[in-house]
Symmetry: C2
Subunit: 189 residues, 2 copies
Amino acid sequence: MLGNVRGRKSSREKILDAAAELVAEIGAGRLTLDAVAERAGLSKGGLLYNFPSKDALLQAMIQRMIDQVSDAKESLRAQMAPGPNLEARLVATTLLNMCCGGKMQEVATGLMVASAENPRLLDPVRGVISATLEQVKANSDDLDAALLGWLAVEGLSNLEMHNLSPFSDQDRERIVQAINRLLTKGIAK
Amino acid sequence: MLGNVRGRKSSREKILDAAAELVAEIGAGRLTLDAVAERAGLSKGGLLYNFPSKDALLQAMIQRMIDQVSDAKESLRAQMAPGPNLEARLVATTLLNMCCGGKMQEVATGLMVASAENPRLLDPVRGVISATLEQVKANSDDLDAALLGWLAVEGLSNLEMHNLSPFSDQDRERIVQAINRLLTKGIAK
DNA sequence: ATTTATATACCGACTGGACGGTTTAGTTGC
DNA sequence: GCAACTAAACCGTCCAGTCGGTATATAAAT
């Protein structure tokens, strides 16, 4: 099946890149097949040859996003300072990096949007989150702190995703520090 | 302008109710004027007489949501137990109540979605959040804990909004307790 | 070697339906 | 007589998905 030959990047990849860019630029609500095709440098027919429906394209985008996050997490694992609540700190750091770094957050927003039109699209995400919870539960010295730290990161990234964050860079830095303190020291008795 | 007469619920209210229901049922991405009009029990003409455009309707929905949250918060204020980080605890409790209670969360999701098509729609929300941050900053004994508690609540509600929460009722209860402990006791030294 | 067949990857005009909004002509209740 | 509609046709646009066709490569048959 994988007829991916020669040095050239596969059309699938080009299409997924184009779609991600467009989602970041105009939002998934406005994402059209024509626009994706044009950006990817092929025709709509060619696009639909690679992804038989818009839904299939969105699914592939979500899956690729999940894989990217999971890769980032695993490559971070080696460099993490040892200490308590390791798994939660790993999750937190990964999310905080991705969120403020690239345009990941805009793409993510867009896909959330898409999910509102077809909630099934988020099924794989649900799986990842459940698995993460298992991991965190199994690898935390202070579960309360681990969960709160994780949730705080979720909260912050969500605000940033929707461009709703009221925090200055200073504020954000302070919050990140506080999250790390919470994860390493725990809640006061 | 406000020709709101007699005992009958104003058309505006009926329309906003219908729209909120529909958003919760099918998502804002699929919200159509025809559907809202039918659900509200009037004609499309009547709907557009009350809200001259779909955008105006969405704006009004968001404003009403903001007002509802703000009302809930103020009516809670009287009953809050005194103690540290009062404002943050107030915000947290309000959000946690609304989130698990009604279908608020689905409506909220829907409006997030709408915002992806027209980001300006969230401007008033941005305002509320900034104001909340001011209030929290001005009324917290332990700002780090206050911010983390708030963010954790945001994170939890966001997960629940998207039906992405992996937490059991037990988990959730534990988390709510932990948030309260964080807000009253602070982060460990 | 040449024809024939088959598969892959793609093009792009077109269709059909959905949807926001307009318009028009009429109705009801204060 | 005006505000608040109803009812229904209509317009323009957007857009997912269809479909017949094309180019290239590889393989099979003659």
